[in-house]
């Protein structure tokens, strides 16, 4: 089956720009959609010191894990909304029928999703890191690893969101589908921060994260596009 419906008649850059602008305008007018996961991230991370106790040594040991698990769950929380609204109001059908490359449309949508879910996490992470007694030297590694990791999770999550499109209460199923695939990201992500916190070079895990990102970037939009086409034709 043909994944990409051949050459796109309108310029690729124009198509991506238009979809990014559109998704952005929708998101700005529905702030709950992207604020909720962000608040979730802040709340979860700030509850750990209260629950475990404020001993700096303990916090420093568990900080990389806490940051990463919370980020993973926050991204997961935001995935539900990725295609559901488009499915419900018929936009998805129109996108499939447009003859434009579905993978490109998906890529543009995921990009906006990351700008609204991953990027704010990235920006907040140094402040929350300080709360968990991470040293300032580890912040660059924390941010780089979260940049690579959250983008990968948005891409992988899009496959899960596309596979569960149109199903009611798909949240748990989505988690079951997506979480196993994101485990490597979690492992290498927190490993890179842990390495930086104990003054070891974090290059190894970061490079692996980058490799996973490139893999996801090249394959996830194709898989997502195919899953969306199946989801749309299965409906009704």
């Amino acid at each position: 089956m043909n994944l990409d419906n051949g050459t796109s008649p309108v310029g690729i850059a124009l198509l991506i720009k238009c979809i990014v602008v559109r998704e952005w305008s929708i998101a700005v007018r529905n702030p709950g959609q992207w604020l909720n996961p962000l608040l979730f991230f802040v709340i979860v991370v700030s509850l750990f010191p209260l629950g475990i106790g404020p001993s700096p040594a303990t916090l420093e040991t568990i900080a990389p894990g806490i940051m990463w698990v919370s980020a993973l769950l926050a991204v997961l929380l935001s995935l539900d909304a990725l295609f559901d609204a488009d499915y419900a109001d018929g936009t998805l059908e129109q996108m499939v029928l447009s003859g434009q490359s579905m993978s490109l449309i998906v890529l543009a949508k995921v990009l906006v999703h990351w700008l609204l879910s991953g990027l704010p996490l990235l920006v907040l992470s140094p402040i929350l890191g300080l709360l968990l007694n991470l040293s300032l030297d580890t912040m660059p590694v924390l941010m780089i690893s979260l940049f690579l990791g959250t983008l990968t999770m948005s891409l992988i999550g899009a496959i899960g969101a596309a596979l569960t499109v149109g199903l009611n209460q798909a949240g748990v199923l989505l988690s079951l589908l997506v979480l196993p695939l994101t485990v490597p990201v979690l492992i290498f992500g927190s490993a890179s921060v842990a390495a930086a916190a104990s003054d070891i070079s974090a290059n190894g895990p970061l490079l692996i994260l980058a490799a996973v990102l490139i893999l996801a970037l090249s394959l996830a939009p194709l898989a997502t596009a195919l899953a969306l086409k199946i989801g749309v034709s299965g409906s009704n």
Binding site: P9, V10, L15, C18, S25, D89, E93, L97, S233
Partner: protein, 210 residues
């Protein structure tokens, strides 16, 4: 063979229920075909199969003599599908909503500008509401926004699922006039509707389902 839509012996099963049984029709350039039938007789299913959105258990749809799945680019370039769910985002204004459609279905040669969109909205008496978010519009007005695509897009084949729902008399007349003009200029229309369709000078064939 050009611009001819053909459905041959389409059958669709829904569980144990044979929803569409050997449905065949041809639709040439300039023709209008109205699909009729009771609720649940498979009208929407047939239209979705014709668009390639639904899968038929048996049978095949042809455009210009070629099966549509082998001819997707050419087919989708010529197809305008307006379903029950019109693809209108409540958070966006009419203009913002239509912008994506002109781009998605547009071809570089016939690129539409915001001025074209405003002109289309004017034709549908929506120009004063062009910048309001669509959630502030009534059902009929939202339908009009979706129908503005009929003015904006240049597709040869229109597949319209209940295009006349929630429209007032003036809107009804406007859409019928648009459809007649489309047929006169060599376009073809496949539509479902319960109301009789009056189009000046256009012969409307009917297909009874169920």
């Amino acid at each position: 063979m050009s611009n001819k839509l053909e459905a041959k012996e389409i059958s669709v099963w829904r569980g144990d229920n044979l929803l569409l049984n050997n449905v065949s029709f041809t639709l040439d350039a300039g023709e209008v075909l109205q699909v009729r039938g009771a609720n649940g007789s498979g009208k929407t299913t047939l239209l979705r199969v014709v668009c390639g959105l639904g899968l038929a258990d048996e049978g095949q749809v042809y455009w210009s003599g070629k099966p549509i799945e082998k001819n997707r680019d050419q087919y989708y370039e010529n197809l305008l599908y307006l379903g029950h769910k019109p693809g209108i985002k409540p958070a966006l204004s009419a203009i913002e909503n239509l912008r994506i459609f002109t781009l998605l279905n547009g071809r570089a040669a016939s690129a539409k500008t915001d001025a074209d969109i405003e002109q289309a909205l004017d034709e549908l008496s929506l120009i004063s509401k062009a910048h309001l978010p669509c959630r502030a519009l009534s059902a009929g007005q939202q339908r009009r926004v979706a129908l503005a695509r009929l003015v904006l897009q240049t597709a040869k084949l229109w597949v319209l699922d209940e295009p006349l729902t929630s429209l007032d008399k003036a809107g009804l007349a406007l859409v019928e006039q648009r459809m007649a003009a489309h047929a006169h200029s060599g376009g073809s229309i496949l539509l479902t509707t319960h109301a009789p369709v009056n189009m000046a000078g256009v012969k409307v064939s009917t297909l009874e389902l169920g």
